[in-house]
């Protein structure tokens, strides 16, 4: 394996490693536009040029491979001057409309210019006009003037999504990114071009003008859109709720995980966060005289406790059914198993709705199972058949049905639920189950709590609270803990981390950042 020296630091890397990758291993970040680790090498922006001993010309570090004994200087005067010249070239036809550009604040053109740019412009001529603010698909809007033609988006649609919508047309300084005739950028992964665009050329229609990026806060999370468990960042803003129509979650961005989603996220997941902001159950409700009436936690929990206790005393644990949800975290499911299974003695605990049809699936990221934690629920052994539970409800054996999150809107399910004496619904959003419930307990979404999901491959991945639970909703952990207290079950968990520790014998902090495999 070759040994190479970069900026005075020696490193041994595998044969075939490029200099830019070797530098990254040493923590040296070489400026780049066209280079992206998930795409082929274009070598066209010429920003990553470095000086290499015994080579008269500067070399692009994204393309040149390490050789034993190579000595590289990334920030020599020559390299920096050349980089500065490239930046000046790139700004020649750039509109410099940063004040109205959504990328401002996370723009690589701004960033590198801040570092090494030439501040006084000597460009005195007219700039070339191109198409601006031009929607090219349901999620993406294009500004050709801001584009620096790094071709990342073109390579993404050619190599990753393999949908071939984008190309570079014309030549010389008239070159532009555009759609091929008759095409729209409408594929399952179109949002990724926004992430990889280093400048403000490709922007998110959903996010545009909603919030300046420097007001965004960020939290690591896991997408709950399907069983893949793509790693995400939740970008949110709690400080300025009067902006963005009160939208707290403003966008999702993929977070690199080499074993799960690499750099990517599907549009379904990226734009599937609306439920966090909309149609939420904000307060506890109790059914009174046939109507769901606004209530409070004390009353709702009291009613839940009473119903459960009565059923237990009169008919025993066979009279209680629990339908957990594959949307819940491992910790929540563990706690459900503990309280209902172990302490209460309930046998009928299931999670998998027989009415949920498999969705779209492909050979890349998207899974047919649209739940983030089916595997975790299976692993917890909460595998009673949900149809049987509902049938027992309809038949009158089960008196109290505790449903988490599920929307039982299938005619068959509605029919089975019709005569259930007590339905306790614990969930995040209004749905048909909630509307039929006797007690409605508002819970927090995954963005409002801590926990882990186990993806379909058995990888346990941690997500964290980005924003507090909306209004009076509480995390499932809190609700279940309060309930356990009222049921006089002695539990000793102060947060979901304690549950994870009990389940896995490991703390959150000890988890591999890319997740832990089951077993």
């Amino acid at each position: 394996m070759p040994t190479i020296t970069i900026d005075g630091q020696e490193i041994v890397v595998a044969e075939g490693t490029t200099v830019i990758q070797a530098a990254e291993k040493l923590g040296i970040y070489i400026p780049r536009y066209c280079y992206h680790p998930g795409l082929s090498i274009a070598g066209s922006c010429r920003l990553c040029m470095v000086e290499i001993e015994k080579m008269p010309k500067l070399q692009i570090s994204c393309h040149i491979r390490v050789q034993d004994g190579m000595r590289v200087t990334t920030n020599s005067e020559k390299a920096v001057q050349a980089r500065r010249a490239m930046l000046e070239f790139l700004l020649i036809d750039h509109p410099l409309d940063c004040p109205v550009c959504d990328q401002s604040g996370e723009c690589e053109l701004q960033n590198f210019y801040m570092e090494i740019g030439r501040y006084d412009s000597r460009f005195l001529d007219n700039k070339i006009k191109r198409k601006k603010a031009y929607p090219i698909g349901p999620h993406v809007i294009l500004d050709q003037e801001r584009c620096i033609l790094c071709s990342r988006c073109v390579r993404f649609t050619d190599e990753v999504s393999r949908t071939h919508e984008l190309g570079i047309f014309e030549r010389g300084d008239r070159s532009v990114i555009d759609l091929y005739p008759g095409k729209r950028l409408d594929n399952k992964y179109s949002g990724n071009v926004i992430d990889i665009c280093p400048v403000g050329a490709l922007l998110e229609r959903d996010f545009r003008f909603q919030c300046r990026v420097w007001y965004l806060q960020s939290q690591e999370s896991i997408c709950n859109g399907c069983a893949r468990g793509c790693n995400t960042q939740i970008h949110y803003n709690t400080a300025r709720p009067y902006k963005s129509q009160g939208r707290r979650i403003l966008r999702l961005r993929p977070r690199f995980n080499p074993f799960v989603n690499r750099w990517w996220l599907c549009d379904e997941g990226r734009y599937g966060y609306e439920f966090i902001n909309k149609n939420r159950i904000e307060y506890p409700y109790l059914r009174q005289a046939g109507q769901l009436e606004l209530s409070d936690w004390d009353a709702a929990l009291e009613e839940t406790t009473r119903a459960l206790k009565t059923a237990l005393e009169q008919y025993g644990p066979e009279s209680i059914g629990v339908i957990a949800s594959p949307q819940l975290s491992n910790e929540d499911l563990y706690l459900i198993r503990k309280i209902f299974g172990e302490l209460m003695g309930v046998k009928d605990i299931g999670f998998k709705s027989p009415w949920e049809k498999p969705g779209y699936q492909d050979d890349f990221l998207i899974r047919a199972d649209k739940n983030p934690n089916s595997r975790g629920a299976e692993e917890m052994g909460l595998t009673s058949d949900v149809r049987t539970i509902l049938e027992s409800t309809g038949a009158g054996r089960i008196k109290v049905l505790y449903v988490f999150q599920h929307n039982f809107n299938a005619p068959e399910a509605l029919e089975l639920l019709r005569d259930t004496s007590v339905i306790i619904y614990q969930g995040t959003n209004w749905n048909q189950t909630a509307e039929r419930a006797h007690v409605v307990l508002p819970s927090a979404t995954y963005a409002e709590k801590d926990g882990t999901f186990t993806n379909f491959e058995g990888r346990i991945q941690r997500f964290r609270r980005a924003v507090p639970p909306l209004e009076e909703s509480k995390t499932d952990f809190e609700i279940l803990s309060l309930l356990a207290e009222r049921l006089e079950y002695p539990l000793v968990y102060s947060d979901p981390g304690d549950l994870y520790m009990e389940w896995r014998g490991q703390s959150y902090e000890e988890m591999d950042p890319y997740g832990e495999m089951l077993g």
Binding site: R46, K57, M86, L90, D173
Partner: protein, 429 residues
């Protein structure tokens, strides 16, 4: 030095396009000799001995280029003939294609035999309609008479030759841009390494040679590499076609031994300057080559001597400019060309060419400043050594040529907002 007619032997001879006539006059004898009497290795050695260099402009030793192709047979090997002659001032290949297409086909057979190639492509400039028709007829005839195809000249050696017409982009003359275009893609030059000799057309080993380079092979095989090398000087073997244009009395294509001075080409063969005016400048090798001043015309025309003089022999397209030419205007024309033809793939060329063109246009309109001259030089400097292919380098060299060879003219323009040459010209008229 005298005109030596090797490649240009049949220029002006309508008969030579005819296969029978060509064969009757010794045509395809060299190819037969190579196929039946020489091993591929011997052919390559002869070419190495000849000091033949790539005559498309880069001047890379031809035999050496062939020897970079891996000898293994696990992948097919290809020959791409560069007939995308588009460097302004260059029109030598056109003469070969129009007057002597069989000499090219013969060269293609010799090269293919030497390297072990069974598929060859001629990438011909799209605007070359007449040369294309003539070449197409010659190739068809060669197929009919068994010179190309399953058994080349009766030998158990297969060679297919395809002609591919370009669509009008200068960049497709850059060898890897040519390969991309041949593969049906946008003619964007590739990153090197890998070089085409190893990963070329359709990801297979590929030789890319210029028309004239291949046309020289007949004489080299007929009369030996040493004989050819002796015609030239040092490491610049044989003769070369010089395309002479501009303010000369007899423009045209002249075949001269390497090492002939420009003065001889311009004044003896070209008959001197039109109207017997004074010579001002010479672009020695297509417009990418930095311009020479009149006092530099005694430089011998070799790759090496011109490199020493800070210019290059390039494609040997010699453009002569007399005293009535404004150098700012000349640079403007050159800058317009490069801005128009830059493929736009890499940053320095995409923006550099456009920027330089806009600045020079402004200077020409009388709105330049001294600072602009510094900016031009800066832009030119960073277009060298930073780009994917040689287009940017060529443009940069050309710009710097004008700026450093004729600084006083540029200064006059920016100081006075007008052109003194033009004024003098009008006064003369």
């Amino acid at each position: 030095m005298p005109i030596v007619k090797l490649v240009s032997e049949y220029f002006g001879n309508e008969q030579a396009r005819n296969l029978d006539w060509y064969q009757k006059h010794g045509g395809y004898a060299a190819a037969r000799k190579a196929l039946f009497e020489m091993t591929p290795k011997q052919v390559t050695e002869e070419v190495i001995k000849s000091n033949l260099r790539g005559l498309g402009g880069a001047g890379f030793p031809t035999g050496k280029k062939w020897s970079f192709v891996p000898e293994t047979d696990d992948l097919p090997k290809y020959l791409a003939v560069n007939a995308d002659e588009a460097e302004p001032g260059t029109f030598k290949d056109r003469y070969i294609l129009e007057w002597d297409p069989h000499r090219l086909i013969e060269g293609i057979i010799i090269c293919s035999w030497a390297v072990g190639i069974h598929q060859a492509y001629i990438y011909i400039r799209g605007e070359y309609v007449r040369p294309y028709r003539i070449l197409k007829a010659a190739v068809d005839e060669a197929y009919q008479k068994g010179i190309l195809g399953e058994r080349v000249l009766g030998k158990d050696f297969k060679l297919d030759l395809h002609i591919h017409r370009g669509a009008g982009a200068y960049i497709c003359g850059e060898e890897t841009g040519l390969l991309e275009s041949l593969e049906g893609k946008k003619g964007w030059p590739r990153l090197k390494p890998p070089f085409p000799a190893v990963v070329g057309l359709f990801k297979c080993p590929t030789v890319i040679n210029n028309v004239e380079t291949l046309a020289h092979l007949r004489c080299i095989i007929e009369r030996g590499g040493e004989w050819f090398a002796d015609l030239g000087v040092d490491r610049n073997g044989g003769t070369r076609l010089f395309a002479l244009s501009g303010h000369v009395k007899r423009p045209g294509v002249y075949e001269l031994p390497m090492g002939t001075p420009f003065r001889e080409l311009i004044y003896e063969h070209g008959g001197g300057i039109v109207g017997d005016r004074r010579l001002k400048a010479v672009i020695p090798g297509g417009i990418s080559a930095p311009v020479l001043r009149a006092d530099q015309v005694d430089i011998p025309m070799t790759f090496d001597d011109l490199n020493k003089a800070g210019s290059m022999l390039g494609s040997a397209g010699v453009v002569v400019m007399d005293e009535t030419v404004c150098m700012v205007e000349a640079m403007h024309t050159v800058a317009e060309f490069f801005a128009h033809e830059s493929c736009g793939q890499c940053t320095p060329c995409r923006h550099g060419t456009g920027w330089v063109y806009r600045i020079v246009s402004r200077i020409l309109e009388g709105h330049g400043s001294e600072d602009d001259l510094g900016t031009l030089m800066h832009a030119a400097n960073y277009m060298t050594g930073t780009s994917i292919c040689a287009l940017s380098e060529g443009a940069s060299m050309a710009y710097r040529g004008f700026l450093t060879q004729f600084p006083e003219e540029f200064k006059y323009h920016v100081r006075h907002g007008k052109c003194d040459v033009k004024e003098k010209r009008q006064a003369v008229a």
